[in-house]
């Protein structure tokens, strides 16, 4: 059995930042492996360790800088990686779900995985939709927000985490795309040996032409037209001063409210 894990490098924002047009000024941005994808990688690697899965392949749509994040996934145990990037992607200010799917569906067609494990959402633009949209595009079954997975032959028995502490138990036919929720496992830290080995693993760069992706399909219909800091919804009283001062003010508040003595 083969597992494909779409892995995203997300942009992180510093506490204080400035907005430049419809993006955060690059000076205030960092990069990280998407939290949800970390759990998806771990799930795939554990399936491999259990002998259920033979190969774990990651795929990332991202520029060359994302290779540091891809190597992290390789260091945690993925066997090889595909990175898709193209000049045509450079100018897009938003890679929407349709565009991601247009690319990822070609990768699925090439790799023919039995399972695709995406994250529930990306921590930066949070569409929360790529996995299920991809499943439909490639004709796989799917389940969104999976926090428990048991594979038995051609059936994936999953728990889907619904709202309010309720889980739905669902059987899904394989091949399937599952969107993985945090907490499903305990992601490992990459070992030194893993990091060394990752340097030698295959990281294959592909362009849109390599994958036969129609450039029209990635243009997308969504245009980001503005970005701004949200207006505060409530009148917030900010306690000022040293930690002792602010702690004192909070203590008074709690005593006045009668919830603490």
């Amino acid at each position: 059995m083969k597992v494909l894990v779409p892995v995203k490098e997300i942009a992180t924002v510093e506490d204080e930042f400035e907005i430049d047009g419809t993006a955060i000024d690059e000076r205030f941005l960092g990069a990280d492996l998407n939290e949800w994808d970390d759990y998806a990688i771990e799930e795939a690697v554990q399936l491999q360790e259990d002998g259920v899965v033979d190969e774990v392949v990651t795929v990332t749509i991202g520029d060359e800088d994302t290779e540091q994040t891809i190597r992290q996934a390789l260091a945690k145990g993925a066997d090889r990686a595909i990175r898709v990037w193209d000049d045509a992607l450079e100018d897009l200010d938003l890679l929407d779900v349709g565009a991601k799917v247009a690319i990822l569906e070609q990768v699925v067609a090439d790799e023919e995985p039995d399972l695709v494990l995406t994250g529930v959402q990306s921590g930066d633009d949070s569409f929360g939709a790529t996995g299920v949209a991809l499943a439909e595009a490639v004709g796989y079954q799917w389940a969104a927000v999976v926090n428990q997975l048991d594979l038995d032959g051609d059936t994936a028995s999953v728990h889907r985490e619904l709202e309010g502490g309720i889980e739905e138990l669902t059987d899904v036919e394989v091949p399937a795309v599952l969107t993985i929720q945090t907490g499903i496992n305990e992601p490992r830290y990459a070992s030194l040996r893993g990091i060394r080995m990752a340097q030698r693993k295959d990281l294959d760069h592909q362009t849109l032409a390599d994958l036969d992706v129609d450039p029209e399909a990635i243009a997308g219909d969504l245009n980001l037209t503005a970005m701004y800091e949200p207006e505060s919804e409530s009148d917030t009283t900010v306690f000022e001063g040293s930690a002792d001062d602010t702690a004192g003010q909070l203590a008074d508040l709690l005593r006045d409210a009668g919830v603490a003595q």
Partner: protein
């Protein structure tokens, strides 16, 4: 003229709140252009749901009595057939766990651009303008969608729930569900274990988030909870890491709490967390990041390092 098709959500016999919020969002959109609002309700006691959905602004409720509970294959097939039949401009679904289990598939099949987790919607001529958050709520964005037809999932609790009764037509839609194409089966539901403490009963909650960094540091927050005689709760990463049991988690997938005072320590205030605590009488946030969303919804905020403030606060109560 733009018609809107909104798909209601229910679970275990109850219409979920977001269904009435969808009606508000949908009727606003439809009213902007003089179009109709169609509401679909699929599976379960659809007649009872249709009655509850007979709200002002709704033109027609389409019922599909197939199955009892949500199944994404059934929803996907039915919504596609309804869309083909009604030819609306906008498809609206909840940005819920189940909404995200079929809306992206419908959008893919119908080749509709998809906007998820919208917190506001407007039309400017033929263009739909959606407001969304990015970076965990640190910024808002507007997205324009240049297409005649668009699929949108809306965030819960952003639109008021429609409450005024109306008199829509209720029509049974004769969907043709292809059983062979159903590749998933819901076999049951499970409630996450109760456990030792009921955080929903507490008057004062001391709640800890990822800002605590290490499991060893949790002791500091436990000491504070003891000093204040408060109950300890947390955001999701603390439970994911196994540092606290699941019954302590506040939020969308945890518990909804309404204490007199909620003290959020090192918690950013992601929407899924806020869903569980925004009903608290008084919200206090301790966070180093002035731009963390929790600082906006807090009544009182301390912008400082928790490792300085919490010891000082413990001191106050000893």
């Amino acid at each position: 003229m733009t018609d809107v098709l909104a798909v209601a959500e229910h679970r275990q016999g109850e219409l979920r709140d977001v269904s009435r919020e969808l009606v508000t969002a949908g009727s606003e959109l439809a009213a902007e252009t003089g179009g109709d609002l169609h509401v679909a309700v699929i599976a379960g006691d659809v007649d009872a749901y249709a009655e509850a959905l007979s709200l002002e602004g709704v033109d027609t409720v389409h019922t599909v009595a197939y199955g009892e509970e949500f199944n994404h294959d059934v929803y996907t097939q039915v919504v596609i057939q309804l869309f083909d039949e009604l030819a609306p401009s906008y498809l609206l679904t909840p940005n819920s766990v189940n909404g995200l289990d079929y809306a992206p598939a419908v959008a893919t099949r119908l080749d509709l651009p998809l906007v998820t987790d919208a917190i506001d919607l407007e039309t400017a001529g033929e263009t739909l303008v959606a407001t969304r958050e990015m970076y965990g709520g640190k910024v808002e964005t507007t997205t324009e969608v240049e297409a005649d037809t668009v699929a949108v999932t809306i965030r819960g609790a952003e639109w008021p729930a429609a409450e005024t009764g109306g008199d829509p037509a209720v029509e049974a839609f004769d969907a043709d569900v292809e059983e062979g194409a159903i590749g998933s089966t819901v076999t049951g539901f499970e409630e996450v274990a109760g456990g030792d403490v009921d955080i929903t009963e507490a008057d004062l909650l001391v709640s800890v988030g990822r800002g605590i960094e290490e499991e060893e540091n949790l002791e500091l927050i436990e000491k504070l909870a003891d000093a204040l005689d408060a109950t300890l709760s947390s955001s999701r990463p603390i439970v994911d890491a196994g540092w606290l049991p699941a019954n302590r988690q506040v939020g969308q997938s945890g518990k909804v709490v309404t204490p007199e005072v909620y003290i959020a320590i090192g918690i950013s205030g992601a929407v899924q967390h806020v869903a569980g605590m925004k009903g608290s009488d008084t919200i206090v946030a301790i966070n180093t990041d002035p731009n963390a969303p929790i600082m906006d919804i807090a009544d009182y905020a301390i912008q400082d390092d928790l490792f300085d403030v919490v010891p000082a606060l413990i001191e106050e109560f000893q």
